[in-house]
Symmetry: D2
């Protein structure tokens, strides 16, 4: 069944300011864009560039004053979603070169700091079973609490405070996987069932499905358990939230409001 997406947001710029936007569902093999309509306020300059790993697009704008974005799309998700606990860990020397950057520490994900904890808590498991145990540990120990975190909150903060929103859950999940030498990346997405409705974020881990050919693939893990990977429309990916914000301002902006609606067509 297609996913219908509606995203509206608006902001104000006191002076001419450069911004990066990334809010459209990505046109990638695992999800078909059935229809898409983007309406943006006029800008002084606009340019589209490929986003991280060529998944989705970023839109440069330079604008001033009130600015609004109105996006509507229907997406057919055709992703294979095997059971996580049947997936196997790849030995590091079997990891493709392009996955290596997803093992390293990034802005919000200081994974190396969590190696002792991960070895102690999850060291008896491996691969998909280990990732599942990490996800379930988070579901058990963490509280979803809008307002408990902000734009500077790191995975280390969230790991200590044990509460946050989707972004924070994804950051901790990424750290736990990386600390076990499993490549993990951040996915911004639209998904029905997210409460309150908003842009969503999940983690993806690079594991191997022994029942399919090839040397590994990326699999979604949502530690908040709100999104179903079979109904998740990806916007973009990156090392962490720093790479795939829907709005990055190179200057000062005042965010007005956003209304996100994601529904599964019945």
């Amino acid at each position: 069944m297609p996913i219908d997406i509606s995203a509206e947001f608006a902001f104000h710029l006191d002076e001419p300011t450069d911004l990066l936007l990334q809010f459209e569902a990505a046109a990638i093999p695992e999800q078909k864009i059935l229809s898409s309509n983007t309406i943006m306020s006029p800008a002084l300059h606009t340019a589209r560039v490929p986003a991280h790993n060529d998944i989705g697009e970023r839109i440069w704008i330079r604008a001033e004053g009130n600015y609004s974005v109105n996006y509507k799309a229907s997406v057919q998700v055709e992703r294979l979603v095997p059971k996580l606990d049947g997936l196997k860990r790849l030995d590091p020397h079997d990891l493709p070169g392009e996955t290596v950057e997803y093992l390293f520490d990034s802005r919000y994900c200081q994974a190396d700091r969590m190696q002792s904890f991960v070895a102690d808590q999850f060291g008896h498991l491996s691969g998909g079973e280990q990732v599942l145990a990490m996800r379930d540990w988070m579901a058990d120990k963490f509280t979803y609490e809008p307002g408990a975190s902000n734009a500077t909150t790191t995975a280390l903060d969230t790991f200590v405070e044990r509460r946050g929103i989707c972004r924070d859950y994804a950051h901790v999940m990424i750290c736990l996987a990386r600390a076990s030498t499993i490549p993990a990346r951040y996915v911004s997405c639209y998904a029905p069932g997210v409460e309150p409705p908003d842009f969503h974020a999940v983690a993806e881990v690079f594991l191997n499905d022994p029942t399919t050919p090839g040397g590994g693939a990326w699999y979604i893990v949502d530690a908040t358990r709100m999104a179903d990977p079979e109904k998740t429309a990806k916007i973009g990916i990156g090392r962490d939230a720093a790479d795939v914000s829907f709005l990055t301002t190179f200057g000062m902006s005042h965010f007005d409001n956003s209304t996100i609606r994601v529904t599964e067509r019945s």
Copy 2:
């Protein structure tokens, strides 16, 4: 004149451990590898993968016990090194998609935190002139002090404490440039003149040379002023030191020693 490089380092692994090595001068158009010889201890597994942005190679090893690396190479640097102050800033919407990740905050480079400072201190300048002023400000205000920083030191720490080593200088330089919406990345390298002799690190900024065709290129800036860009042999690049460590251990290692020698053939 060719640069002769000799790098030896050794470490100990208590148990079988995965490591990533990246220590060889990269085979890229701007520098010709005249000769190269790498001798490494036997490992349980070894695999070479392309490094970040396909510049250089990373070597996966899985090994145990004492491990040593002995690398010798001669490199002919053929990089164009225009005067920095003749280079121009590209408008953000003219930046190629692959440079955008180098505008974002990364593990050690929280550039967004420095926007107010950069606007105040360097806002009257632009492009290469601005980058030069940033470099000279650092040369004036910062002290090169081995031992004053460690593996967890961030650009923010160094910005406050105003001392550190090449890695720390590069991190602050990267932040200052990014805070002014100039893409900036981290380069690990070999360079004669580094004192004490060691692996070196510099920043690269993405600017436009109006006297040459094309839409911008990467230019080296060494805030320590120890390395000459015309004699610098690049190993690899990344967002910051997290991406291009010569040795990344996924587990525990004991570093024994290293001896780096870089000389310009006379």
Copy 3:
């Protein structure tokens, strides 16, 4: 002329929760409490204890549900306010024992990190002249910007970002003084002229007035320049904001609103 103070604030506690309140002008020699009236909602428990260094009082309450505080007072300030630039630095070995804790790093004031900067920027000055130069440097370089900081913002954050509110200004001012081995503490206070009207915070430094007997005293420095030390009614003091919050919750509270009015009687 007396200062008239009116402070009202209210919050909600989902379950029985312990809180510390400290919002009344302190009864100390340098300010005379002409009148004072505190009305608080009934609590499960209430206890008054002396506050830090016996300056002012803290009120323990244990309460549940909606809770409000209504405080009115008139305070006659009789503090001596010499010119800062006539004050002298005390040699460390002449500092009284009770001032020593105000040289150390505290929760929000990592002063040791700023020693290099302070030596470089202000090392040619000493005592009150140095403190004045620090205050004026902050007035020049920092922007008063409500909303730019939060409860976890440290002096180091503010030093880098160069913006914040009274609390952040006081924290940086304290660090700069401590980094120069001048004891510095945090003062929560009421002062006319604070815009927007709110609880205020300033720094105090321990210096010696050569024209008066005795070995040093505490002098107010307001880096925001909004408060006049001759009209500032102190609530309490501490190492930084962690010690003198008007409301510290040991559990969860929802803050509703506050209305602070401070006027100078004409």
Copy 4:
């Protein structure tokens, strides 16, 4: 049985520098100083001041060049050491005013960040039983590892990394107690059994012994389990290590070496 203490340490000061030393066992009711001998290099200035809460003394010196300290003492510990699990929590409104500062966050102890964790992990217990469970959880989950931390390591770092030395253990223990509204402070001390022999640090919690009169007292908790409270000679106390370093330099010093020996006379 008396404890015999021998402490020698030396450092070098490139230029005249102010320092604070605090290394002598405190003369307090719970421990009798049988004999004591302190030999220090000549200094430009020396002054003794009472230390935090009048427990022990700090020594100000101003010195230059090589400086050494040689301290020998015999101390009879006469502290009452009840079983921790028989001690009761005091309601916050019953806490004496002078204990309140030990509930607040301090430089290395960001206790408020750990409230969710403490409520979840230890919320079913109270008082001494809860403190014991915290200590045993640390003994189970943390690894004593010299070299894994440094002077900037906070309790939050250690909580995530789960390794450190006595100072780090004490900081986490303090946070856990404070997060449960139990006053907790840092104690620097000498104790036989510390391996490798060095200055030691433990936590103290403020609890009530129902079998003795009075409203609460401080009780030692050593999360490293190396020190026996009946044989521990206190040097000083504070909110965390920032308050009771044996050597605080206001400038640059080069630490040469230290030799600490603590033995129980048989």
